[in-house]
Symmetry: D2
Subunit: 380 residues, 4 copies
């Protein structure tokens, strides 16, 4: 029989693997939105019926909003609801002005999605911070909750002293299964039954499906979220259907796997070569010194070379579909220790600033009396 210690350690590893699955699953939010994008970027295709896509820029922050109706849900096999993506690269760039702007946009978008879900002014809310506080790139939930304005106990203990412009808010970081030994959704469900909030906001770190999206986007949806792996039927999702009250999920991609990095790199490679091919006889290139590498800032699908050239550059791999390419890379990297789930090395600073930004946005969305700019001290 195995000795206990070995058993425990094996199980720890098992949990680790589960965690990576979990990250795999939690990316769904992004994937769904991404699929919409793919459609959008091919203008030759028809608009998808039941799907409204809108892009805007507020305070210099790009926002993409996708609404899927019940019709769209059937067509796309994606859950109906709102999917919002805020492009908040101010954190990566350590630009505090851009961070403040992104917090304002986040506040506005959360308010909008709350209105759409008919959450009443002054109604009681519960904020749930998912993730493992011992794993920096998974700690967005707990870190944000440290900076969120919690007021429910003030309403209960000394109601008369609470100023206008605040609503009762409670907050909980339930931890992860490897730490508590319990299903995270079970913990949340039992607290919700007792606390009986009018709505729930869930914050979580996500796995990114592209190099470029990591540490740059904030995603909001009212279609629900799975705390941890949704593989089995044991783990219940957190959604309006399962909880009986609106659930708004806010997620930020903080990790990416080696498959995605390799897959994205192969894409860039083909586009880069395609662009170079196109440009090689143009005056701009001719003016450059022979040995200076050409850098292409914004590669797009239009830079993708034709089938034959793709084969010349990358052989059989050059003509695989996105899905085939990822499957192949997964097969290649599946050996233990190769398909690393990684995070940028600057993750500590990033998490601090992003938790600050998300808390600022949530505080301003929930309490009329809190303003992103004037009340930065709450989230310090």
């Amino acid at each position: 029989m195995k000795k206990g210690r070995e058993m425990m350690e094996e199980n720890r590893e098992t949990m680790e693997d589960k965690t990576s699955e979990k990250f795999g699953v939690r990316t769904d939010l992004a994937v769904e939105v991404k699929d919409m994008y793919v459609e959008k970027e091919k203008p030759d295709k028809e608009e998808v019926p039941g799907v409204k896509v809108k892009e805007d820029t507020y305070h210099d922050v790009k926002v993409s909003q996708i609404e899927i109706s019940k019709t769209g849900e059937k067509t796309l096999n994606k859950k109906s609801g709102s999917y919002v993506t805020i492009f908040a690269d101010g954190v990566k760039k350590q630009d505090t002005k851009m961070q403040t702007n992104a917090a304002k946009v986040l506040a506005d978008q959360v308010k909008k999605i709350m209105e759409k879900n008919e959450i009443k002014a002054g109604s009681k809310g519960l904020i749930v911070g998912l993730g493992n506080w011992n794993v920096t790139p998974d700690a967005l939930g707990p870190l944000t909750l440290d900076k969120v304005v919690v007021t429910n106990h003030l309403f209960e203990l000394n109601y008369e002293t609470v100023a206008d412009g605040y609503r009762p808010i409670a907050a909980i970081s339930p931890g992860v299964m490897g730490v508590t030994g319990m299903e995270t959704s079970d913990i949340i469900l039992s607290i919700i039954q007792k606390f009986d909030p009018s709505f729930v906001i869930v914050i979580d770190a996500l796995a990114s499906r592209s190099i470029e999206r990591i540490n740059e986007t904030i995603q909001i949806t009212d279609t629900g979220i799975h705390p941890g792996s949704g593989v089995g039927n044991k783990r219940k999702e957190l959604s309006h259907e399962s909880l009986g009250v609106p659930v708004i999920a806010i997620g930020v991609p903080t990790v990416v796997d080696a498959v995605t990095i390799a897959s994205d790199t192969l894409d860039y490679l083909l586009k880069h070569m395609g662009r170079e091919w196109k440009e090689k006889d143009t005056p701009r290139s001719a003016l450059l010194p022979e040995n200076m590498p050409i850098r292409h800032e914004n590669l797009s699908n239009e830079d993708l070379p034709d089938k034959e050239k793709r084969s010349t550059f990358l052989g059989l791999v050059g003509n695989l579909s996105e899905q085939e390419k990822r499957s192949l890379l997964e097969e290649v990297l599946s050996t233990t220790g190769r398909n690393l789930i990684v995070t940028p090395k600057e993750i500590d600073g990033f998490m601090t600033d992003m938790a600050h930004l998300v808390a600022q946005g949530i505080n301003a969305a929930l309490h009329d009396n809190i303003n992103v700019e004037a009340d930065a001290h709450y989230t310090r």
Copy 2:
């Protein structure tokens, strides 16, 4: 009307005050035990009926066990049950050998109290880590939980892989009301209803009622504990009666208030002067150089001078009862900012080592296959 920010800040202060109340209340455990001590130290008094006091030393660690029966409960107006105090000064002294010994004794005592409460081998347990992880001296619960071996999910997910000698254990750090906005006992109760454990172990930092006990003792009881202030009727205690399953509370005094420091100092002062009076013509003293201060390692009640001398030394204050003296000091120090609740400045290192020790003890008590010495790595 008050501006929101002011309101919030006032409320934060209010919460702070509540916290000190909380610490005040959570000391009960120690007080009850201490009262027993007082009895014990006066051998002229009769034994209290319904109270069994036992002192022992295992592995060089002093342990005091007090059993109060239903009879004793009435006599003393103290809840019946077991009160155990382990003197674990190895942490303060940074002596790792002494720490290991104290962990072994803790494991034995927790096992004993579990047996007394008829907790079956292999039965499912929940460990609750009370306290605020953002306040170092209040973080014993969360810090210990970081080092506790959690196994319940392994039993649920892959039962066949769990080795013999382990039982299913889950763990939760519910936070404090100022952080979650919810009653801590409500959070725990709802999780217990869902998880349905056979027993509960609660870990918490306590307020000390003496300078000497701080960071030195570990207290265990099966009589229950209040998470936070028990002043109002709102906060439910965590006990066998309220939860329906045995509750074992493990507490360590980590803070002390200025009243206690001043009160203890006045006691030492009287005993010190009493001893000096007695010794002043003895050879030992005569051998000392004139100006060398005399240090008395172990002052006891026998050193207390008589009433008249107490009056000479400390006037009216010298003849106040313990309770009168504390009331007077509370009155004097009650002005905001004077009755500080303080913790030794080395608290960071102390909490790390004590959490390690408590987790070692609990792990070995709960799982037959874990041994304090061989499995130190679990709690590293």
Copy 3:
């Protein structure tokens, strides 16, 4: 022979004791200022020649400035120079507006003392953060340095890109002897010889000589500071004389010992009883319900009862001088483990906010282009 482990552990303890000595010594700054206060509070005494005392309130923040000339140095046996105390209780009260004001006042006072020491605009400075980063109440230096704007490398690496309004600033946290094994002053001196700054700013946590001053005051002086114990002749002070450039020390009391707590409490006790004696027949007292304790917000020396009453209340102890009382208490508490050096239990939050405040003040004092209010993000 002792086994190595024992030896190491004993030595660790020895270091601990050294640390408390260190705290004892580092309080000098406060003591000197305090002595001045005592003089000031006795208006019957003549003004001390060579000492200028000034109290002011800027932005609702009380500031006390003491200038000791060479004449005063002889009279008082205190080093000549400036001693400034800022009363910054906004941190303790978690009032962010008051904190911002205190940071502004700190910036102004540091600027003034820099001007007095003829430190030129644009000249190169070194900021030294003393203290042990593993001991929260001793970590003011390292914590502040995390938030200070460091620019020297920018001037060296790409001079042309540095905007006007900044000066070259370097920063170092040298650690403590128990961590590095080296004299802290030696580390600093060798770096200064290499870096050759025009001035040095030293930040350190201090031991408080009164309950009321802890976590409330910021002290500034240009008379130098000792990094660690100054008992032997080994540890060199950091001062204009020893380094050849102006040294500005900024200190905040964060710890207090049990002797001080007990001593202050005995003082309050006498004043409290004195006041009560005086007031006992006044209408105000008569209107209060019998059993309601009387709280005296602001006790002063005028409340001290006469010699006879002091004897009635506190016996022999009631008529000891300040110095005699402290010596007696030190004798009583000197047994290991009783004269605790303690810190308020909320120290974690306090250190974060105070480091923020001090860094804000220093940044604004050093760089014309940085403003306490607009540039809070630097110190987040």
Copy 4:
């Protein structure tokens, strides 16, 4: 003109870029060893003159030792000296038994390299922990120093109490230029001049040149190390030549860039396809269900398909040399934000355990009286 804040933020970014350069340079250690490997793996080539390669396994831990003589230095254009690589995957696998074994092997190897460098028993040493404590994957140096036994002050303060079997050791974490504003090598040099040690041990996190090596290997060399980028001529290396005393560098790869991940993946891809091609008609494959992906645990250079098949699989890219492939990928990923430097998401736990392991090894190597297994408490 640029506003100061923008300037500061740009400069922060510049520093970030410098950091990545730094990581790029610090990998040299690994690269040199790797080059040796490549030679070794091609047995058809002759042995390189002046290079001794030895592989061994102690305590189940694989160790590779490479000695380059002055002759080898010329042939290879690599600095002469010892290069040792310890394969310590016990940390990644959270296997404490394997970690203890790796610590023992590290202790032995450090002792050997100390003997080779004629470092005398009992002689005085300085341990330098390079890296940024605010960036988890760069914090190996500071984290290890927290657990190293520092004794120099004990020898200076109370020589007679130090037990046999210890030597005087001091330790310093100088920080990084972005934090101190000073050249790290300048700080170290000035301290060395003052402290005058007989030898220096430098600990640092490295950039990995392969996915598989990250968080798995410990590298030791006596050929010196650069603290930060060695691009310009400003930053001096730390070596026997520059410091006048032996320098032993201990490094652990903790980060990897996207170019390496993509490059390694392309290698695996070719080998994977080559293996599959070879195996496709073998019985083993035939027994597998059609749609079950084949996983190849240990791909080696022998699996690499021939030139023609490489072209079929990966086009032009399939036949690039290692250097050409990396250059191409660097060109493609060079656009800001794409060539991420990343670290495994479990980095927090990894750093804690690796710092523990390295400190255990160093303590046992330096002090005869410390034993990896018995004295684990020093590094807890």
